[in-house]
């Protein structure tokens, strides 16, 4: 064998052994998850532990006349019943929300949504606790309720939040009505209005991204254990952001932060549901402080769907202005945001409507103006980012539906219209009309690749034939082609515009190499199933030349992990992933000095080679990272402190902007309204790809949730404010049978400002998927003059479209 070939083979073998970036490494956490050996909050059993359960309001809006807990307290096994009256002296009957509002922990004078927490029963077991909730007698005086957000600000609307009715300035400026939360504006109104007044073509459409719920498999839960002797609180819970929870608990309880141990063990999915703080957490903490024994609270499915954090409920009046050739010249959007009874949106504090201003999408739109009005209604609070960065699904839905409406008005193919308006590769970094700086993109290439792969022209030809056949009565099926080309904004974020209650949105990594060359690394993020234990190890493996299997990743214990802002908004890779690379590079720099000392050469004479430093020009003279680690502890160079570890708190200079091109081919049975997805193709560009298999898994999951949201998932209320379908009987969680088959593809446009060029991918498929499905449905009916068809596109609603169009004999 030729010498060079031998060297190359040896290098390839060494690189492969690392299972570093780019490797389809199997998820290490799955070994325990697939064997039922995960350790979740509800698995926790502590000596003397007792259980809490809530008494909830049957009314959407009612005055509480009286609460009588005596029958409940008399039930054997009941230890305590907490009401607002018990929490009030502690100042805990309300808690601060992330959005600058307050939220009732236990309702004091009024209930504001059905299933609102009214009392917390603590008993020796869960059955007794549940029995006792039926024995708490609450007398209500029903009040008229508001379900439709368009009625919130009517002059005669009932005032919902009496606790703040005189406070005409909220956390985000003046309020126009007692049921108004905020008005948020961005962009150039005058310039936009001028463009619209002069434009050749304009469109205006009310696009509703309806209320739904992230519904992770594991519901929200906590166990609080207060040690009266030490004055220390340990709180286990389903926390996507454990450090933030620790800070918030410290601020509201008055306990010093070092005496609070917040631990997020394995989490069974989050999707935004586990970012906020909930009444159950507070009540378990108060219960444990008062009783001195551990208190467990576990939400059931109905409670989860109907109380802890809905998503969406954005009513978006979306306008585009264009030339008759199809060049978009302006965008104007007004959003009416239904926030429910409290403003408990989980957004960075300065962003009451999240990053809704990414709504200009992937297009070079010179001027735009966005106004968002948030209002209260008698529904559960939340407004969390359900598998997306803050309000990004809503924003992308608005632009990607609007562009279809515009294409139709122009009589132009919508793929062509997109191509015509994309931001061009050479325009990056691109300054958007609504204030963002897009880091990198190559949209035309991605779109062309997607169109070529699915055979876009042929599909349009097939559709044209099908439409003719339908008109002739030869088929009862409609074919729709859905397109979406999304740009996300993830990885919050730079301290200048991103903080949560004043805590800047950095993230962190702490890497420690043991003397024998294996590693423990801890991050400020918290996986809920994303596979962090696998992928962070791959970053370190490549950066430091240590096999991923020798690297343990730990998250979730606030005593040991460095402070971080947690996992949501696809921020783990963009922020903590960057911290990981930077910390690793600090270690590598020290390792290089040690290697130079060991090899008795100058540092500059060394070069990095996969898992070792070698002397330039003398490849047989090298020290592996493993050897260096041993020396770092036991024989460091003179005057160098022993050990090999580093920590990095990373404040990102910018967000990252993943993008992608999605296509959906759908066939709809007009007689039943049942839609079948024939084909779904998803091309994602998330920059550098750390683990292609995990990316594919994330895309599959995100698309499945997008499919659910678009095609039937909803949290609906009747006119009395009763929440409908809040169980898995009705709430559409697709099984493997309903879920379409996914085809995935990619291009790679690294982020220029990220240490490894990665952008994040966990949420892209959801963000891009929802409008893609909706566009397919709308496209199917478009030739019949259906107009805009709102989500969710479940069978009966599509059947109603056919009914309206006179398609049923």
């Amino acid at each position: 064998m030729n010498e060079q070939v031998k060297i190359d083979l040896d290098r390839a073998e060494r690189a492969e052994k690392l299972q570093g970036m780019g490797c389809k490494r199997k998820r290490v956490e799955d070994i325990r998850f697939t064997q039922g050996k995960g350790s979740y909050v509800d698995d926790l059993k502590l000596p003397g532990m007792v259980f809490g359960d809530f008494v909830r309001s049957p009314h959407a809006h009612a005055r509480i006349v009286s609460i009588d807990t005596s029958r409940a307290k008399a039930l054997p096994g009941v230890i305590a019943v907490l009401t607002a009256a018990d929490l009030k002296p502690l100042g805990l009957h309300y808690m601060p929300t992330l959005a600058g509002d307050v939220q009732a922990v236990l309702a004091e004078e009024k209930v504001l949504f059905q299933n609102q927490e009214v009392a917390f029963v603590i008993a020796e077991d869960r059955y007794i606790a549940s029995d006792a909730t039926e024995l708490v007698d609450v007398e209500y005086e029903a009040l008229p309720c508001i379900v439709d957000p368009f009625r919130s600000m009517l002059p005669d609307a009932p005032i919902l939040r009496e606790d703040i009715k005189d406070k005409m300035t909220g956390a985000h400026g003046p309020r126009k009505h007692p049921n108004h939360i905020f008005e948020w504006q961005i962009g150039d109104k005058q310039a936009t209005d001028d463009v619209f007044a002069k434009a050749d073509v304009t469109i205006k459409e009310m696009l509703v991204d309806h209320r739904t719920h992230p519904s992770p498999l594991e519901t929200c839960q906590s166990v609080a254990s207060f040690d009266k002797v030490k004055g220390e609180l340990t709180l286990w819970g389903t926390f996507q952001a454990p450090h933030v929870i620790r800070t918030v608990v410290s601020l509201i309880s008055g306990l010093p932060e070092h005496k609070i141990h917040v631990i997020a063990p394995d989490i069974g999915g989050g999707f935004g549901n586990k970012v906020g703080a909930y009444a159950g957490y507070v009540c378990s903490v108060v219960g444990s402080i008062v009783l001195g024994v551990p208190v467990k609270w576990v939400e059931d499915r109905m409670e989860n769907l109907s109380t802890t954090s809905f998503a969406r409920d954005y009513h978006m009046t979306t306008e585009l202005a264009a030339t008759k050739e199809g060049k978009i010249v302006g965008m104007r959007v007004h959003v009416l945001a239904d926030h429910g009874a409290f403003d408990a949106c989980a957004d960075p504090s300065k962003w009451p409507a999240g990053f809704m201003n990414i709504c200009t999408g992937s297009y070079d739109i010179p001027v735009a103006h966005l106004v968002v009005d948030g209002v209260y209604t008698n529904k559960a609070s939340g407004g969390v980012a359900y598998r997306c960065s803050f309000r990004v699904t809503e924003a992308v839905f608005a632009i990607e539906r609007a562009i279809e409406v515009l294409a139709q008005k122009l009589g132009m193919d919508s793929a062509e219209l997109r191509m015509k308006n994309f931001i061009r590769a050479e325009q990056f970094p691109y300054q958007s009309a609504l204030g963002w700086e897009y880091d990198s993109g190559n949209y035309h290439v991605a779109m062309q690749k997607a169109m070529d792969t699915i055979g876009y022209r042929q599909l349009r030809a097939e559709q044209a034939e099908k439409r003719e056949a339908f008109k002739r009565g030869e088929t009862r099926e409609l074919m729709g082609i859905g397109i979406s080309f999304f740009t996300e904004i993830v990885g919050a974020g730079p301290a200048k515009n991103c903080d949560i209650l004043g805590v800047a949105m950095f993230d962190s990594a702490e890497i420690r190499i043991h003397p024998t060359g294996s590693v423990i690394a801890r991050m400020g993020t918290k996986s809920q199933g994303q596979g962090h234990e696998t992928t962070y190890a791959q970053i370190i493996a490549t950066e430091l030349g240590i096999p991923a299997d020798d690297i343990m990743i730990e998250e979730g214990n606030t005593d040991t992990a460095p402070y971080g802002l947690g996992t949501y908004g696809s921020r783990s890779t963009p922020v903590a992933g960057a911290a990981t690379a930077v910390a690793a590079r600090k270690i590598k720099a020290k390792a290089q000095m040690i290697a130079a000392h060991m090899l008795e050469v100058h540092e500059g004479d060394l070069e990095w080679d996969i898992d070792r430093f070698r002397v330039k020009g003398l490849p047989e003279k090298f020290k592996t990272m493993k050897e260096i680690a041993w020396s770092a502890y036991n024989a460091p160079p003179p005057n160098m402190e022993p050990g090999l570890e580093a920590v990095n708190y990373y404040e990102p200079p910018n967000m990252t902007y993943p993008f992608g091109a999605y296509f959906c081919i759908m066939d709809i049975d007009v007689d039943t309204g049942v839609a079948k997805t024939r084909r779904f193709y998803a091309l994602d560009d998330c920059g550098t790809r750390i683990n292609p298999m995990i990316i594919e898994g994330q895309v599959h999951g995100g698309l499945t949730e997008a499919f659910a949201c678009a095609m039937g998932q909803e949290i609906r209320y009747d006119e009395m404010g009763n929440v409908m379908g809040a169980s898995f009987m009705d709430f559409f969680l697709p099984t493997a049978v309903e879920t379409p088959k996914w085809e995935t593809d990619f291009t790679v446009t690294p982020s220029p400002h990220h240490p490894i060029g990665a952008k994040g991918v966990g949420e892209s498929p959801h963000v891009g998927g929802v409008p893609c499905f909706s566009n397919a449905v709308n496209d199917a009916y478009a030739f019949l003059g259906a107009g805009n068809i709102q989500m969710p596109h479940d069978a009966w609603r599509l059947w109603k479209v056919g009914e309206r169009l006179g398609l049923h004999a």
């Binding site: 869960r126 549940s130 059931d300 499915r301 379908g725 169980s727 009987m729 479940d794 009966w796 059947w799």
Partner: protein, 288 residues
């Protein structure tokens, strides 16, 4: 999702089960596979104080041919219905319908008797049993009596079962060889109850329909036997005109609730669409 307190009983004979049910009265409920009753208990829509589990009773299980009937023990699981070669040969529509119930895990536990006795219009077996003109054997302390499936359902969760009675067996008259059959069910997803469903049994002589029986699921407070719709098909060639009038007659007797599956008008129309599709499939299967 936490049930109330209850006592659990596990009798080993029909007599002792009946005696227990009579002794415990209103507060007791028979327990079969538990896949309707336990979800109701977990949401506290039902809070029986006593559960009388029928699992330990001999002789409630099995599928056999007896005189002109197929007799199925009440505790026979839905899974066993699917696996039975006797049923596949003689009454294949039972297998076809069973396969549309819930999912495999539920069918391993859920029983035919529980499905029929439950009285929930969402269950698939009752309309099928009406379509097949099955008879339910009800056993109380005065011994067994038979009630036709077509007479059994009085309202939502209201049946002809008297206090202390247990459904012990279902007797299905063996249909004519060469009959055409189909069960068409529209549902939102696996594991969902029907938006609407139709069971159809027909016999053909040449291209003329000589008998037709139709059952409808989940489009009224009770399962529906669409007698008139069936009658309109007999003697016809199942041409478009007669199918349309049968569909109209079937739709006319529906009275569905509006729920998350869709508003009432939709569910009525879906009963019609399911019937039409079931008729088409049944005809294609019938041997003259």
């Amino acid at each position: 999702m936490i049930p109330g307190t209850f006592a659990y009983h596990r009798p080993t004979t029909i007599d002792s089960a009946v005696a227990l049910l009579i002794e415990l009265g209103e507060d007791a409920r028979p327990l079969a596979g538990g896949h309707s009753l336990i979800p109701l208990m977990k949401t506290r829509l039902a809070s029986p104080e006593h559960l009388v589990d029928l699992t330990g009773i001999d002789g409630l299980n099995g599928i056999e041919r007896s005189d002109g009937d197929v007799v199925i023990g009440a505790m026979t699981t839905q899974h066993s219905l699917i696996g039975s070669s006797l049923l596949s040969e003689l009454v294949p529509i039972v297998r076809e319908t069973s396969l549309r119930i819930a999912d495999p895990q539920i069918r391993y536990k859920g029983t035919l008797g529980g499905n029929c006795a439950n009285g929930d219009p969402g269950n698939d077996m009752p309309a099928l049993m009406q379509c097949l003109n099955a008879r339910y054997v009800l056993t109380g302390n005065e011994g067994p009596r038979e009630v036709a499936a077509r007479d059994f359902y009085l309202g939502a969760y209201e049946t002809a079962l008297a206090a202390g009675e247990i459904l012990t067996a279902v007797r299905i008259p063996i249909p004519a060889p060469g009959h055409g059959y189909a069960y068409e069910k529209l549902k939102r997803k696996v594991g969902d109850y029907a938006t609407a469903a139709a069971a159809v049994m027909i016999t053909m002589a040449g291209d003329t329909c000589t008998s037709a029986s139709i059952g409808l699921t989940n489009v009224a407070e009770t399962p529906l036997w669409a007698e008139e719709a069936g009658r309109l098909l007999v003697g016809t060639k199942l041409d478009e005109g007669s199918i349309a009038s049968a569909v109209a007659a079937a739709e006319a007797i529906t009275d569905p609730a509006s729920d998350m599956r869709g508003p009432a008008d939709y569910r009525t129309k879906m009963a019609g669409v399911m019937l039409r599709r079931a008729l088409e499939r049944a005809r294609s299967r019938a041997k003259a």
